[in-house]
Symmetry: D2
Subunit: 308 residues, 4 copies
C-alpha cells in the first residue's frame, strides 16, 4: 500500500498498450497531475498536443486479462486559476436547422476557478453570467485502460475500456471498475473539468489542469464488460455508443448483470426491480461515442436486503 | 374559478378533436377519475379498451391556436388497492441478442398499493421482492391536448401535444404548459402509475386507476413548441421522438427558447448557462416516441438574478 | 370492374376515417387528379392547404379490418408544365455543423416538366444545371389508407398505413398492398413528384400536380403489418420510422414474413436467402418518419423455384 | 510500375501503424492472398486469429499525411472450394422482440464456391436452398489504411480510414481512395466474401480465403475525409458510423465535397443535383460502425458536362 508521487513528462493521445510510466502494487496510491484538454499545465504552459492528452499509463502488478481494475478517486483538484469552455452548444444537441443567431466562429470563454472558495466564475465574454460564481464541481473527463487486441483508441472517444466518457459523477469519492484487457491493465487519466453540465453539451467542462490522487486496486478472476462506478449514493454502469439508445442498452444490460453477479438477484428480480427504481444520467452527447449511465440507489438495495 | 366534479362515462384512445365532455373557464378546477392503461376502473371493472384510455377532453373557454394551456396537477391518487406491471424489461433497453433466460410469455405482476402507508408492494410473482414495500410515487403517464391540423394521435405515443410521455415527474405539484392547437385546447389525461422507474423500461409503472384533481388555465397569445413543466425544483422541457438523440435535440432547443422568452436570457447566455448546469431525465424509452427531458434548477436561475 | 372518373373538390391533410368521396367495388379503376404538395392544381391555382393535400379517400366495398388493400398504379403523369423544389439539402442528411456557405433563406427552384419529351429541366435559379434536361421519372410521394383505432395522421409522415413515404419506386407499374384498418380501407393519394433522388434529401421531388389512374382491389382475410410493393423486378417492403435503423428493422422483418406467408419459405430459408441476396433502398430521410425499403429480386425467387 | 508477388506470413487484427511487410512505389502492383474472417487459408489451415486478420500493411513510398492513397482492385478470387456463413439474420436488422422460432445456437452454414462456374451453392444445413447455385460475386469486406494519431482500430469496425465496411461493391474493378494519415499510408486488406447481400445482415458473406491482385497509387497534396470509390457506373462515398442516419450524413457530405473538389460544381449545384439523382446503398448494418454509401451515376455527370 505504498504512496507514489509521479510527475508526468509524457502524455498520450490514445488509450493503448503504451509503455507504463510507473508500475504499482494493487492498493497503492498515486499522486500526480493532469494537463487540460489541449495539453496546458498548471502554468498554462503547453506540454502536449490534442486531443485530451493523458497522464499514464500506470501498470498494476499482477493484472491479467479477465481481471477487474479498481480506481478509487480521492482527489481531483484544479491546480491553476483559470479554465476555458466553448461559448455555444454543439449542433448534436439542437434541432436540425437550429440557428443560434450569434457569430459562429469558435470563441473560447474564460472562467476563474477558485478552489478555496469553491467557485467557477465567467470572466469573458462579458454578459450577465460574467462575475457570478457557480459552484465548483471537479471531475475527470477521461479515465480508462488499454483496450483489447492491441487496439489504441483516441482519447476523444470511449468504449468498454472507459475513455472520454465526460460523465460528471467521475469525481472525488467515486470508485470505478474497469475490465482488464492487457497485462498490467495500464490505467490513464486526464481531461479535468471544473464544472460540466450533463451531456457535456457545449463540448467542454471548464477545461483545466489538475492535481489528482487515487488508489488502484485489482479484483483477480472477476470479469466485467463495461465500466462500473459507485459512490455514496449510486451504483452506476456506463454504456458508450451512438445513438444514445445503444448506450442505454449497454448500460442497462450491464446493470442487470451487476445486480446478478454482485448482489445475487435472479434475472427476474433484477428486471422487476429496475422497472421500479432505475435512474439514468446523460453522460455525454458530444464525443464520437455518447455515454448513458444506468443508476440504482444503494439505499434501495440495502432496504431490500441485497448486499454487494 | 369554479370547481367541477366530473364522472367520466366515455374514454378516448386518441388525442384528437373529440367532443368535449366538459367546458370550463380558465382557472377552474376539476376533480375526476382515470382508468388504468387497459381500461379498468377503481372496482377492477372494464370500462374502456386499450391503449391507455383517456378521460376527457376538457375544453377551456377562450383557448385558441397559438395560446398556451396550463395544467396544475394537484392530486393523482390511486383509488384501488392493486396495480400491475409486466415482469421483464423491454428489448428496447437491452443489448441486441440479450436473452433473459426466463420464460418469454408476458406474465403480469401484481402489486399492492397502499396510499395511506405510501407503499407499493409486490404480491406476485413470488420472489425476494415480494412483500417488501417500495415508496409510492404516483404520476400520470399521459397528459396532453388535441394536436394540430385535425390529427388524432394514438394514446400509445407522444409528440408536441404531449401524450403518452410516461415521465415520472408528471406528478402532484407539477405545472405543465402545452401548446394549444385547437379551439378549447381539449385536455386529456390518464394512464396513472403508482411507481415507475426512469424510462418506463419494462413498459409499465404499476398501472392503476386514480382520483385526480387539477386546474386548467390559459396564457393567451403566448406560443410554445413543446410541453414545458415546472415543479418546486426544476424547469423541464420535454422532447418526444426516436431515437433518444432527437428527443434531446427537441428538449434542449425548447429549453434554450424558454430561457430566452421566459427568463430574458440572450441566446449566448442561454447556451453558456446550459453547458454548465443542464440536467437530463430519460422520460421513456418504450413508447413509439421516446421522451427525454431537459432540466434546469430554478435555484440556479434565481441566484443569477434571472426571473421568470 | 367499372371505371370511374373522379374530379376531386376536397382534399385532406390527414390520413384518417374521413367520409369517402367515392365508393368502388374491388377491381374497379379510378382516374383522378392530385394537387401538388402545397395544394396547387394543373392551372397553378391554389385548391388546398399544406401539408401534402390528398385526393380521396376512396372506399372499397367489403374491405374490413384485417384484409389487405391492393393498389395497381397504372399512370401518374404530370398535368402541368412546371414543378418546384427547394434548392438545398436538408440538414438531416449532412454532418452536424455543416455550413453550405450559400444563402440560407428558402428559395424555391423552378423546373420545366415535359411529359412528351420525358424531361425535367431546371429553369431557375440559373446555374450550370439550368437548361439541361434530366429524365422524367414520375412517382407519388403519398399513398395510404386510414390508420387503426381512429387515428388521423398528418400527410407529412408515414407509418404502417403508408402515407408520406416519398419512395421513388411508387411509380406507374407498381402494385402496393396496404393493411386494412377500417371499413372500406379508405385510400388516399397525392404529393406527385416528377423526379426525386433517393431519400428525398432536399425535401422535395419536383413537386407537381398529376393525372392519376389506378385500380383498387381487395384480398379478404389476409393480414399484413406494413405496406408491401412489387414491380417487374422487385418485391419491396417498406419500414417507416426513425432512425433509419428502425425502418430497416421493420422492413426486413416484413420481408421475412412475406417470404414465409407469400412464397412458402421456412423462417430459416428466408433468413439464409436474405443474407445472400437482399437489397435496400433509402426511401426518404426527410419526413418525420424515415423510410427504408427491403428488396428481393423476383428473378432470384423464380430461379430457386419459389412461387408467390 | 513493378509487380510484386507477396506471400503473407503475419496478419493483423487492427488497422494501425504496424511495420510494413512490403514497401512499393506508387503505381506498383501486388499479388497476394488473404485468409478468411477467422484466419483460415486456402488449405483450410488456421493461419491467424479473429477478428478479420489482415494481409499487410503495404507501405507506399512518398505517402505523407494529407495525401490520398489510391487502390485499384484488379482481382479478388476465392482460392478454395468452400466458404461459410451464419444461418440467421442479426438482431440488429429485425424488430425488437422478434423471435425466429428456430434454434438460437450459432450454427455455421457451408457453401460450395466454384470460381470457374461462377456459383455459390449451399451445402449445409439442408433445406430448399441447398444445391441451388447462386451467382458468385466476390468482394473484400475490409480495405483500409493506418488511422490518424497512432490509433490502432479493430478490424471488426470501420471509420475514416476505411476498415471493415463490408460493402459489396468493393469488388474487382473498383478504384478506392483513402485519406493518408501516416508515412507510407500502410494499406491492409482481408475478409473476402464470395457472395454478400446488402448490409451483411447475417454478419457474413460466404467467408473465404482469396487470391488478390491490386495496384496502389498516390495523389500527393490532395486531402479527403472519408473513403471514396468509383467503378464503371458510380461515384461512391462511404460513411461509417452508427446509427445509419449518421453514416448517411458523412457519406452525403463527402459526396457534396467530391462534386465540388473533383468535378467543379458549386455547392449550390451539388445540392441541387444530388436532390434529383442521388442513390444510396446500405453497406453494412452489422459491424460496430454501420456503413452507408452515397452514389451518383457517372453518366449523369458526363451528360451534364461535368468532368472529374
Amino acid at each position: 500500500m505504498a504512496h507514489h508521487d509521479f510527475a508526468p513528462t509524457t502524455y498520450h493521445n490514445t488509450f493503448g498498450s503504451h509503455a507504463p510510466v510507473l508500475e504499482v502494487d494493487p492498493g497503492d496510491t498515486i499522486a500526480t497531475t493532469t494537463v487540460d484538454a489541449r495539453g496546458f499545465d498548471r502554468h498554462d504552459a503547453a506540454r502536449a498536443g490534442r486531443p485530451n492528452p493523458q497522464t499514464g499509463p500506470f501498470a498494476v502488478r499482477g493484472a491479467e486479462p479477465g481481471d477487474t481494475l479498481v480506481l478509487l478517486l480521492h482527489e481531483a483538484r484544479p491546480n491553476r486559476a483559470r479554465g476555458w469552455t466553448t461559448a455555444r452548444l454543439a449542433p448534436n444537441v439542437l434541432d436540425f436547422g437550429y440557428e443560434a443567431g450569434f457569430a459562429r466562429e469558435i470563441e473560447l470563454a474564460s472562467w476563474a476557478v477558485d478552489v478555496s472558495a469553491g467557485t467557477v466564475t465567467l470572466e469573458s465574454p462579458v454578459n450577465r453570467l460574467t462575475g457570478q460564481p457557480l459552484p465548483l464541481a471537479p471531475m475527470l473527463g477521461t479515465v480508462g485502460v488499454a483496450p483489447d487486441i492491441g487496439e489504441a483508441i483516441s482519447t476523444m472517444t470511449s468504449g468498454p475500456h472507459g475513455g472520454n466518457m465526460d460523465y460528471n459523477r467521475i469525481a472525488p469519492g467515486v470508485r470505478v471498475e474497469f475490465p482488464v484487457f492487457t497485462q498490467g491493465a495500464l490505467f490513464f487519466l486526464g481531461d479535468g473539468h471544473a464544472l460540466q453540465g450533463d451531456g457535456e453539451i457545449d463540448g467542454t467542462g471548464v477545461e483545466i489542469s489538475m492535481d489528482v490522487r487515487f488508489t488502484l486496486d485489482l479484483i483477480e478472476g472477476r470479469t466485467i464488460d463495461w465500466p462500473r462506478a459507485e459512490d455514496d449514493t449510486f451504483l452506476m454502469t456506463c454504456g458508450n455508443a451512438r445513438p444514445l439508445d445503444q448506450a442505454v442498452q449497454h448500460a442497462t444490460t450491464a446493470m442487470v448483470r451487476w445486480l446478478e453477479d454482485g448482489y445475487g438477484l435472479t434475472t427476474r428480480e433484477a428486471h422487476m426491480l429496475l422497472g421500479r427504481v432505475v435512474e439514468y444520467d446523460l453522460g455525454n452527447m458530444y464525443d464520437p461515442a455518447y455515454t448513458m449511465v444506468c443508476k440504482v440507489r444503494k439505499s434501495v438495495l440495502a432496504e431490500l436486503g441485497f448486499a454487494g
